[in-house]
Symmetry: C2
Subunit: 143 residues, 2 copies
């Protein structure tokens, strides 16, 4: 808790319970939640929390590089407190979104044999497919 307040302060943000709650939640989840999910989770323990504040908070965080916005083609954006560039997997079966730790698929543009005429600031790789759990389940629900 102490730490999070410090991080926000260093980014020039005023420290509020709402911001601490949002950042802590993102730090401690692997699920890449969207704004709605963050709001629903936090309003339980944090009654003084509104959806508008969640959106505004995520916007600040994104601009200051505290979180990463991830768009996998659903209706809403997901958020990740792991800011460093890294690939993601999206299971077309159960819908889960996960970080993928794989050096061969990270920093791709820096490993090119011939440079591009496009100056890359950030790369985003998303693999769509079937996660390990769903492969084993072999369920027809996943067509």
């Amino acid at each position: 808790m102490k730490e999070t307040a410090q991080v926000l302060r260093e980014k020039g943000l005023k420290v509020t319970p709402q911001r601490i709650a949002v950042y802590n939640m993102l730090l401690h989840t692997q699920s890449h939640p969207n704004a709605e999910t963050i709001y629903r989770t936090l309003e339980v323990t944090n009654p003084t929390m509104s959806l508008a504040t969640v959106y505004k908070t995520l916007d600040y965080f994104k601009q200051l590089g505290l979180v990463q916005e991830l768009n996998v083609g659903e209706g809403s954006a997901r958020y990740d407190a792991v800011v460093r560039c890294h690939p993601h997997t999206v299971c077309t079966c159960c819908g889960s979104v996960s970080d993928l730790e794989n050096d061969e698929l990270t920093n791709l543009h820096q490993k090119l044999s011939t440079p591009l005429d496009f100056q890359v600031e950030c790369e985003q790789l998303i693999l769509y497919g079937k996660c390990a759990k769903c492969q084993m389940a072999e369920q027809e629900a996943c067509e």
Copy 2:
């Protein structure tokens, strides 16, 4: 025109002027337009065209593999008649979205030294940065 009708028919779709118009437009543009842009462009030459039909048409096309949906983090989805998996660039300066022809950045998951436990169906790589034109312009407008 003849060709497009044939393609639609082979996919089991009824051939209508609206579907031909949408598919032809996507075939002949490099701009990766969204539904709104497609509609505005086509309503000029094709007065009998509604936005609802554009959305429904794109949905059919996507399901049948005639077009690819592309989500670069704007409010709306973009569409590409190049269906084969290929990377895209998004200029954070002028907003242009382009296909990137680069073998080293294509079919990445098939080139891994050790296989993933994730069964990849499709991969999508998006490079965000500054396009060649904007680099030369060196404009402050691009922050």
